[in-house]
């Protein structure tokens, strides 16, 4: 008896359902039409979110993945659609976000002939993916898709591109799905070396002044509880990378804030005073370390990571602990002695007080003048009871967002960390809200970044995505302006912007909104935004010359901290 045959497109959708996909972000076009046609019959199983630009599809899928822990899926057509998706794919690689991007491709007989909307998607995406593969035969679809999900979500997560020729989408095949959970050339989960576990525990037990650096790896490996147990048992203060920020609640007593260029003074200064530096699921990015030649030279270094290629990449490591942080942290914790580092921890206080006086109070509680960016973030965070998800764009809005928003729950920061993608915020917020519908999503944007993906207002309108969008409008590309002020003799080359009426634009998309430029209206406007049943755009006119402090100038030593008081 002959098995019933189905099209490659149906096989694709069946496989997606089998892989647990219920949401896709996409945009149809010529070379992906067979899939879209089939999707019409799968509307009850898969929600398709029609974005307004393929870059938006990838960023929305990233936002969805970051808050939900699931693989984000984007579906686009060939040629320009695939190239539009590139920025999101690259962003997902830098920030280890599990993402599967499915692109249509011209029919296989046309491949290599410069056919209409043909582009070498695999060639373009190989350097920015964990895996990129072109499917030319319908029968390869279930295998390729299942392999894609396995690779994207296992080990250190990342983006995968599957490029499917149009004839493979429409040809018939016998459907046979087998979940891929093993690839012999790929070992996502390294074996834990108990010698390293013991060596790490010994270093920690001997340490008088340990400092932990917490990264997103903790969140990706669901190791939040193990991390807290580890930190509390050995009484280790810690700083977080931006992507690691919500792994531990902001108000945890050992939480000394954010690391890096615009991070908190304490953990940055203490990096060069500690006797033991413990990186956990972080990659010693240059924005965290500054000049490596002067970085933590006095300290021994333990590096917990799942990715061998990160060990010793930037910072020489005394003891590497390879593996899944959930497993390795728990293993080390059992060997730790209960410790107290009261004197060491209290040595953070003067740094905290200095930053509080010189920077924080001036930023969040200014006496007069125009509204400040940090002030807005602080008020929004307070008004949400620190329960919300923070989504940011890139630039001053991002740094103010991550500095002044507070977190109670993990998976609460969605921002473009490694790639620093302007235009990320708005589409990522859509994905975040869809991935965590019960949570309040607060999306902070600058007037520059908003206009890079402003067309996604259309998606918000159509999907009725209840996102709270706060534009910190200084009519400037603020971060570039800040660098021009500090390092380029105040020559403001091409950074001032004449802006449209953003609320008017939102109104055209039937999104409620309001502009605030007086401090006395701010609380009420935030309240109105949060109680509004639906998406809302709050445009706050903030001071033009706002600066993000503290600041460690790029490439200088981690203790070279500007606080704007000199």
């Amino acid at each position: 008896m002959e098995k019933q045959k189905i099209t490659g497109s149906e096989a694709l959708l069946k496989t997606l359902v089998a892989e647990g996909v219920d949401t896709i972000f996409g945009y149809p076009g010529g070379a992906i039409m067979p899939v879209y046609d089939c999707l019409y019959d799968y509307r009850d199983k898969i929600r398709h979110v029609l974005v307004r630009h393929e870059q938006g599809a990838t960023h929305a899928a990233q936002g969805y993945a970051r808050v939900s822990g699931k693989v984000g899926v984007a579906l686009v057509t060939s040629g320009p659609a695939a190239t539009n998706a590139i920025t999101g794919i690259a962003d997902a690689l830098m920030d280890s976000t599990p993402l599967v991007v499915i692109s249509g491709q011209v029919a296989s007989p046309l491949l290599g002939s410069d056919a209409f909307q043909e582009i070498d998607v695999i060639g373009i995406t190989l350097p920015i993916t964990k895996w990129a593969y072109q499917v030319r035969h319908a029968e390869d679809i279930p295998w390729a898709i299942s392999r894609a999900f396995y690779i994207a979500s296992s080990g250190r997560p990342g983006p995968v591109v599957i490029d499917i020729a149009k004839d493979a989408q429409s040809n018939l095949m016998e459907y046979a799905y087998k979940k891929v959970d093993y690839i012999r050339s790929y070992q996502p989960l390294p074996d834990v070396d108990m010698n390293c576990i013991a060596a790490a525990a010994e270093l920690i037990n001997q340490s008088k002044k340990p400092l932990a650096l917490v990264g997103q790896g903790v969140i990706l490996s669901h190791a939040e509880k193990e991390l807290v147990a580890f930190l509390e048992k050995a009484d280790i203060p810690f700083g977080s990378t931006i992507l690691g920020l919500s792994a531990v609640p902001t108000d945890h007593p050992l939480n000394k804030g954010m690391l890096g260029m615009h991070g908190n003074v304490g953990p940055n200064r203490k990096t060069n005073e500690c006797d033991l530096l413990i990186g956990i699921g972080m990659r010693f990015d240059d924005r965290v370390t500054g000049d490596l030649k002067t970085y933590a030279k006095q300290a021994k270094v333990i590096h917990f990571d799942i990715d061998l290629a990160e060990i010793g990449k930037n910072v020489a490591v005394t003891v590497p602990v390879l593996g899944n942080a959930k497993e390795t942290l728990a293993a080390v914790t059992t060997l730790l002695k209960q410790a107290k580092h009261t004197k060491w921890i209290s040595s953070f206080t003067p740094d905290e007080e200095e930053e509080e006086t010189k920077v924080i109070q001036k930023e969040i509680h200014p006496d007069s003048g125009m509204i400040k960016m940090g002030e807005v973030v602080n008020k929004v965070s307070d008004a949400t009871g620190h329960d919300g998800i923070l989504v940011t764009d890139v630039g001053q809005n991002q740094m103010m967002g991550v500095r002044y928003f507070k977190f109670k729950h993990t998976r609460s920061v969605v921002t473009s960390g490694g790639l620093g993608t302007m235009g990320f915020g708005l589409p990522a917020a859509i994905g975040a809200k869809i991935g965590a519908p019960e949570r309040t999503v607060c999306c902070f944007l600058g007037d520059g970044g908003l206009q890079m993906t402003i067309q996604e207002f259309g998606t918000i309108m159509q999907e009725k995505t209840n996102v709270k969008i706060i534009v910190l409008n200084n009519n400037f590309l603020g971060m570039v302006r800040q660098w021009q002020e500090l390092f380029f003799n105040e020559r403001y080359s091409e950074t001032n912007m004449e802006n449209p009426d953003f609320v008017g634009i939102a109104k055209a998309y039937r999104i409620a909104g309001r502009t605030v430029d007086k401090r006395e209206d701010l609380d009420e406007a935030i309240r109105e935004m949060l109680v509004h049943d639906g998406p809302y755009l709050l445009v706050v006119t903030v001071e033009k010359q706002g600066m993000v402090y503290p600041m460690i100038p790029a490439g200088t030593t981690v203790t070279n901290i500007f606080m704007g008081d000199n």
Partner: protein, 184 residues
């Protein structure tokens, strides 16, 4: 910074499309020139072996090899310096038959360089020489300055470590044992 020297990178991979591209990208990102490249099926069925030589430093090689090893379809990548390896290249030299006979130094040349003749016809003779770069280069220099070389080609390096067996077979056995254990 450690000094630059010649490293031999050995890579075992699945025989999938685009592998060379993936490897080349990692060299390109660090502006490393590939000096020689040789790709062929390995002793293990369906697994290909790349042998690549490049001038670099130990620090960079360590990072490059880790980044290559990380790619999904790469089974194993490692690097060695010449001390750890037995290695060989093949060179072919095409000479004019007339001049070849006229010089009358054929026997001496062949003996001295341990070369051999592969082909002779009325117009040309093709000599083959196996050896290290310096050796094949020495013959090239001598021929160029005496008879003249019409055409010259040198292969990429092939290399084998001096230590016991190909490490890959151990690794594959280990991996399979692990999978069996997981299943049990």
């Amino acid at each position: 910074m450690s000094a630059r020297k010649l490293y031999t990178v050995t890579i075992f991979s699945e025989n999938t499309v685009g592998l060379l591209n993936q490897i080349a990208i990692i060299f390109t990102r660090r502006q490393l020139n590939i000096e020689t490249l040789s790709v062929s099926p390995s002793a293990i069925e369906e697994i290909h072996k790349f042998t690549i030589t490049t001038f670099s430093t130990e620090d960079i090689m360590d990072k490059v090899v880790k980044q290559i090893d990380k790619r999904v379809d790469i089974l194993k990548a490692y690097y060695n310096t010449d001390e750890d390896l037995v290695f060989q290249e093949i060179a072919l030299y095409k000479l004019s038959m007339d001049l070849f006979i006229k010089t009358g130094t054929v026997e001496e040349l062949i003996r001295k360089h341990n070369a051999r003749i592969l082909e002779m016809n009325e117009t040309c003779v093709v000599i083959e020489k196996n050896g290290h770069y310096e050796e094949t280069q020495a013959l090239f220099k001598e021929l160029s300055s005496t008879i003249g070389v019409l055409q010259f080609i040198r292969s990429g390096r092939v290399a084998i470590t001096k230590s016991k067996v190909e490490r890959l077979s151990d690794m594959l056995a280990e991996m399979e044992a692990k999978i069996e254990k997981k299943k049990a």
